[in-house]
Symmetry: C2
Subunit: 209 residues, 2 copies
DNA sequence: GCTTGACCTGGCCACCTGGCCAAGTTAGGT
DNA sequence: ACCTAACTTGGCCAGGTGGCCAGGTCAAGC
């Protein structure tokens, strides 16, 4: 079984970077399972099968762990689930397919969204980390724009207002739908809302010139 | 001056409910100022000018305080800032005015949004409180629908897909715009996005039959 | 004045938190 | 075989946490 959290490697010299990686992944597991508040340095080390002392050998402080999480580990890879695009279909249909593909990734791992939200809120308080959420948002925006461009190429369309603004609008709806769904957990309502916005936003799409 | 947090009433017999109210308001102040995590029972009592012992005379546990906050105190009153509606103007213009009025309340007190977000996330973890966010969402949805109805009446329009679904869509955009803005703090981007969505959603509005 | 019950409080408790460190262990170069 | 520098660890610390309670205080009713 070798279940994480109970296993305890006897002793193994490891470069600090490798250990940092193990710790950040363990932290993410704990946060998803028990909440960001429950991710104490001890809980994280236990999850990673390390003694508590290992933590402050790898990280100067807990904030450094937060920073590592926000800059590297939290990646909801949109391109992972890429929908089939039919160049012949109406843009609204293709856009709806795209939105649903995103939604699958949200439903598949809701805890990831909660952790991201909580971690962002936490970082905003810490002066040392307060810049990270903005950075993370820009990164997210860029990747969304890339996906939108790829989508536009495959569907043979272009965006009336430009890709960047389209990306901001799409992210707004995704973020809102996710937030609301985390509260009400109404799958149907969320999907319907996304479908409707797919239709609306299709109005900003036109055949490529 | 009588600044809150330092003043300390000598001793005053108060019905428990009044004291509870004082504590919840003090808790809200602390959370907005220093974050939800900083709102310890001691910090809250200090803010309210009470000894620490008072807390557990009024509340059985800290969770009970959270519940009191989520069910009564957190009210972002949309109808407080009601825009002027011009029945002669295009629906898109009126809708944009409505959206901007909402946005003013967000920008006026961003910390309230953060507290609401964090508190919701926290409640979702606690089995005892996990139902409250859904309840809160329904309440929010109803009040949004009421406002939309009032708006429709004043602007002499109606909603093609029904008020309820319109409210869900509007809330989705509001929530998303707020979340994104809390990260990037780009006022212009947020306003532009809201303006664009006002135009898009105006497509779901038609003259009253 | 006296009784009663609601109200009030300082101090205590067990537990947990992030952070630190001296002493020990390992692996690789020479 | 030895040295060195990187790595590992259990234990310790000061401070903070939510929760509890015995004993004190107050105001109202008689």
């Amino acid at each position: 079984m070798e279940s994480a959290g109970t296993a305890r490697s006897p002793r193994k010299n490891l470069p600090v970077e490798a250990r940092r990686e193990l710790l950040t992944q363990a932290a993410l597991r704990v946060m998803k399972r028990d909440g960001v508040g429950a991710a104490t340095t001890r809980a994280i080390c236990a999850e990673a099968g390390m003694p508590h002392g290992a933590f402050h050998y790898c990280f100067r402080s807990k904030r450094e762990l937060y920073a590592a999480l926000l800059t590297t580990d939290i990646d909801v890879d949109l391109s992972a689930v890429w929908p089939e695009v039919d160049p012949g279909a109406p843009p609204a249909d293709n856009l709806r397919t795209l939105f649903r593909a995103y939604w699958e990734t949200v439903v598949a791992d809701p805890d990831a969204q909660r952790v991201l939200t909580d971690l962002t809120g936490l970082a905003l308080r810490e002066p040392e980390l307060s810049g990270l959420p903005a950075w993370e948002h820009r990164s997210y925006l860029e990747r969304t724009a890339e996906n939108l461009d790829r989508f536009a190429a495959e569907a043979h369309v272009e965006y009336a207002r430009g890709t960047a603004e389209m990306a901001e609008m799409v992210l707004t709806v995704f973020s809102g739908a996710t937030t609301l769904w985390l509260s009400h957990r109404d799958d149907d309502a969320a999907r319907e809302t996304l479908d409707r916005y797919a239709v609306l936003l299709a109005g900003l799409v036109r055949p490529r010139s």
